[in-house]
């Protein structure tokens, strides 16, 4: 420059931080609270209409004699899903997200705030019906369940690799419609395993009840393991 000043290069600040750090930290706190209380928490994710609510309706009703269950259900608008789930007689809260296409840890924290978690064995979180956005947000859950219905097409998993890769269990729903939809079971399993080799897969129908026993026994053993772990860490003998 004419007056002899040299432009100083900018100062570089090394940060190396996850952009969703705030959510991750809140999720970690939640996970800690759930662990201390011995609540087993599942985050259910799928595209709109894959059958999350109907599966939960039936599960809440049929397992009510065995467990104390609670549900948070996220939707952009309406209380419809909560109303359907409340017919089971269990505790249900609707989270209306407005324009937000996913649930965040902060919402879960504020909605469970006044619950006595120690009384709950199993908490379901039905996420907003969306195959993309929920995958980036940890809600402090123990397991993430992704649902695909037999009418969604067996190549769906290939289109949503991020979600598949973040899931622990895949449920293929509406098994009663498989034949009509000419659903290719093997192709679906293959597509899922390409992005998540160890994923557990269950096929079921919330309408006919086919396959539900395997789902229930998965829940039973998971709840038991969670309780066991919380006793071990809670009261060291």
């Amino acid at each position: 420059m004419a007056d002899g000043t040299v432009l100083v290069p900018p100062r570089i600040l090394e940060l190396r931080q996850n952009i969703l750090k705030k959510n991750d930290l809140l999720a970690r706190d939640l996970r800690q609270r759930f662990a201390e209380a011995g609540v087993y928490v599942l985050n259910l994710v799928s595209g709109p209409g894959a059958g999350k609510t109907r599966l939960l309706q039936r599960t809440l009703t049929e397992l009510a004699p065995e467990f104390h269950m609670a549900t948070l259900v996220g939707d952009l608008a309406t209380q419809n899903d909560a109303r359907r789930l409340q017919e089971s007689g269990t505790t249900v809260r609707q989270i209306e997200t407005g324009t937000l296409c996913h649930l965040e840890a902060e919402m879960v924290a504020s909605y469970v705030q006044d619950w006595n978690l120690a009384e709950i064995d199993l908490l379901f979180i039905e996420n907003v019906g969306n195959l993309v956005c929920p995958s980036s947000y940890d809600l402090g859950e123990d397991g993430r369940v992704v649902l695909f219905s037999t009418t969604d097409g067996e190549d769906k998993p290939l289109k949503y690799p991020t979600l598949i890769n973040s899931a622990d269990l895949a449920i293929i729903s509406k098994l009663d419609l498989a034949e009509a939809a000419e659903f290719d079971h093997a192709a679906m399993h293959r597509a899922l395993r390409e992005m998540r080799p160890d994923i557990k897969i269950l096929e079921l129908s919330a309408k006919t009840g086919e396959g539900l026993e395997a789902w229930y026994s998965h829940l039973r053993s998971s709840i038991e393991a969670k309780k066991e772990a919380s006793h071990v860490s809670g009261n060291p003998r």
Binding site: V8, R16, N18, I19, P161
Partner: protein, 122 residues
């Protein structure tokens, strides 16, 4: 479209980092994994929207794409993959669940200028 949420989280993160410092942000360097579930163009656009009328308006967003990388047990080596449809080793075809890169959604560095110093020398 959760890129808008991501962009506001990014804005908050940068603002918190720079709290109390008299600096102007020139650029923001991010790492974005192909499996992060975030669309680059949507993030760029959202960032412009959320930084309007803030001290970060006009800061450049430099996004580095990170491809998927796995560790292949068969080859005993890390391998970089081309797409996001499969976790198979490109060399031997073995499936691997051991992801080593590609999930990043990371704020790496900020390039800033000290406002005072500029006044002194400027």
């Amino acid at each position: 479209m959760h890129e808008l949420s991501v962009a506001s989280d990014l804005l908050e993160l940068v603002q918190a980092e720079l709290k109390g410092q008299e600096v102007q942000v020139e650029s923001i360097h991010l790492k974005l994994g192909v499996l992060a579930g975030v669309v680059k163009e949507a993030l760029e656009f959202s960032f412009e929207v959320v930084t309007q009328r803030t001290e970060l308006a006009g800061a450049k967003l430099l996004i580095e794409d990170v491809p998927l990388g796995i560790y292949c047990l068969n080859c005993k080596a890390e391998k970089v993959l081309e797409g996001v449809q499969s976790l198979r080793c490109p060399e031997c075809g073995q499936l691997s669940g051991d992801i080593r890169q590609g999930k990043e959604l990371e704020l790496v560095t900020l390039a800033v200028r000290d406002l005072e110093r500029q006044e002194v020398y400027g």
